[in-house]
């Protein structure tokens, strides 16, 4: 069983297609919608946490690609900019999943991308704009 967080970009002509429904039903994948919105250009963006067997997951990705949906892993979109971060720690109690935490030895703030659900609360809370989430 694997669990992956992915970002799906739906071009305009696909916005009314039951693609995610098919993804779940045809490939035995369960999913949790972390974020969903329509961009100003009327494209759909969905951040999903997808669980299932690795083979089914790969087939599901293939289906998405063939349908014209652009898929990207979430992990590469969440960045803690080290050159901006002052390691104060004001973000730590704000993070709902504990993805932001203090490294024991150095006392510096670190981001565990696997735990991040891209809720974006840290983005505005950081006074130095050190957190960047782009997708």
């Amino acid at each position: 069983m694997i669990s992956k967080k992915i970002v799906l970009h739906f071009p305009q002509h696909l916005v009314d297609q039951p693609i995610v429904h098919r993804l779940g039903k045809d490939f035995q994948l369960s999913f949790n919608i972390l974020k969903a919105y329509i961009t100003p250009r009327e494209e759909g963006v969905l951040v999903l946490e997808v669980d299932g067997e690795p083979r089914n997951y790969d087939k599901g990705l293939e289906y998405l690609a063939k349908s014209g949906v652009r898929v990207q892993p979430l992990a590469q979109d969440v960045v803690l900019r080290k050159e901006k971060c002052i390691h104060c720690g004001v973000c730590i109690p704000i993070c709902p999943t504990g993805a932001l935490r203090v490294t024991a030895v150095t006392g510096e703030v670190g981001l565990d991308k696997e735990k991040c659900i891209a809720c974006e609360l840290c983005v505005n809370v950081c006074p130095y704009r050190a957190m960047e989430i782009a997708f």
Binding site: I86, H87, C88, G89, V90, C91, I92, P93, I94, V102, T106, G107, E108, N124, V125, P127, Y128, R129
Partner: protein, 402 residues
């Protein structure tokens, strides 16, 4: 055997001074005792890197041709209002000043991404800043309008001058209400969702010299990455607050007014901060050396996080309404552990002041002193002490009638 600052400076010039950080002295005193530590160690360096709102900088931009008198007129730096009430071309920009019409600030809670603090950071970083000014014009200063790029390297003077910095201890803020609130101590989640504090604790300058024995007017310090000086007590200096038996205040107490040449400071240690829903402020790096003159001074520098206590205050109702009182006391070891208990509830903590950066400042100052580049100064006057009666009072509002 007491030492003098003169003796310590002599050792510094010879490269023989024993300098340690406020973290290292804790271990030294623990293993060797105060008496031996006081004999062995010459200087303890302290540090802090946190938001300090009562800050700003003044500049002399040089006279234009034809001449202009900004005093009495209006001036803006990157659309942030600068105070133009001094003479012809002297300007002061405060860290918390905001542009008059920034759409990002108009809708609650507001982003507050650019203000005086960011102007100061941009200038220190060597960036060009847009000066836009109007004046009423006089016979000797006829010009009425000035629009120009300015840069710190072209200014005659650029001086960081901060009326209140380096607070000796501060509150822990919590939110008892059922709505998220935005404060200068950050975003506070409802129902004791988080507890934010702001201190370098055992590294913090005035917490290592709680009775202001060595830190005073004229003390040379690390300020914003360069050299600065303590010039006065800070505004709201409140030395008479309750203290623990070790002399360390258990609530916000003293503070410092500091100044230094902005031209030799670095943007790494003068960072503009955008506090969501609140405003902008300047996060400043300050490091103060403490000459270990005797056992008393040495004992004070060995203060540990668990010996420094502070009050938990509700910022949803009690603080804004000026209702005194505390929800309980916690120490900095508990705060730094990541969790404290308030009213029986376990609450995650967040610090606005960076401990790793404070340590870096203490270590940098230690290097400067050991290399002979930085000599200590003798204070020329003391800060008002706890017994002095000097106190911070609230405003007495008096109705203005005809």
């Amino acid at each position: 055997m007491a030492k003098t600052i003169q003796e310590i400076n002599s050792k510094i010039k010879q490269g023989r001074a024993v300098v340690v950080t406020a973290e290292e002295i804790i271990e030294i005193v623990k293993h060797e005792g105060v008496k031996t530590a006081a004999e062995k160690v010459d200087v303890v360096t302290t540090g802090t890197f946190g938001p300090m709102c009562s800050s700003g900088a003044y500049f002399n931009i040089g006279q234009a041709k034809p001449k202009i008198k900004l005093g009495g007129g209006h001036a803006f730096l990157n659309d942030v209002p600068a105070y133009a009430g001094f003479a012809a071309v002297d300007l002061y920009v405060g860290a918390t000043a905001l542009p008059e019409h920034d759409p990002r600030n108009q809708v609650y809670p507001g982003r507050f991404t650019y203000g005086g603090a960011q102007v100061i950071e941009d200038l220190v970083a060597g960036k060009d800043v847009r000066l836009s000014a109007t004046a009423y014009g006089t016979d000797c200063y006829p010009r009425k309008k000035l629009e120009t790029w300015i840069n710190i390297k072209d200014m005659n003077e650029a001086v960081l001058f901060n009326p209140r910095n380096c607070y000796q201890n501060y509150n822990v803020a919590v939110n008892l209400s059922d709505k998220v609130i935005y404060t200068y101590l950050g975003m506070l989640k409802p129902h004791l969702g988080n507890a934010n504090y702001c201190s370098a604790g055992q590294l913090s300058p005035l917490l290592n010299d709680p009775q202001y024995q060595t830190i005073g007017i004229g003390t040379r310090i690390f300020l914003g990455g360069g050299v600065g000086y303590v010039v006065w007590q800070g505004t709201q200096h409140n030395p008479g607050v309750a203290r623990k038996p070790n002399g360390v205040p258990q609530a916000p107490a003293g503070n410092l007014a500091v100044m230094g040449d902005l031209k030799q400071m670095k943007p790494e240690w003068l960072r503009g901060a955008a506090m969501q829903g609140y405003g902008v402020t300047l996060t400043i790096g300050i490091g103060i050396p403490i000459p270990v003159l005797n056992e008393d001074v040495c004992r004070a520098t060995a203060v540990k996080d668990e010996d420094i206590w502070t009050q938990v205050v509700d910022y949803s109702e009690a603080y804004p309404q000026g209702v005194p009182g505390s929800l309980g006391e916690v120490n900095y070891q508990q705060l730094r552990s990541g969790m404290i208990t308030v009213r029986g509830k376990r609450v995650n903590t967040g610090n606005l002041s960076s401990y790793p950066k404070a340590l870096e400042i203490a270590r940098t100052l230690k290097d400067w002193i050991r290399s002979g580049d930085f000599l200590l100064t003798e204070k020329v006057a003391s800060l008002p002490a706890a017994e002095s009666g000097y106190a911070c009072r609230p405003l007495k509002e008096r109705l203005i009638t005809q």
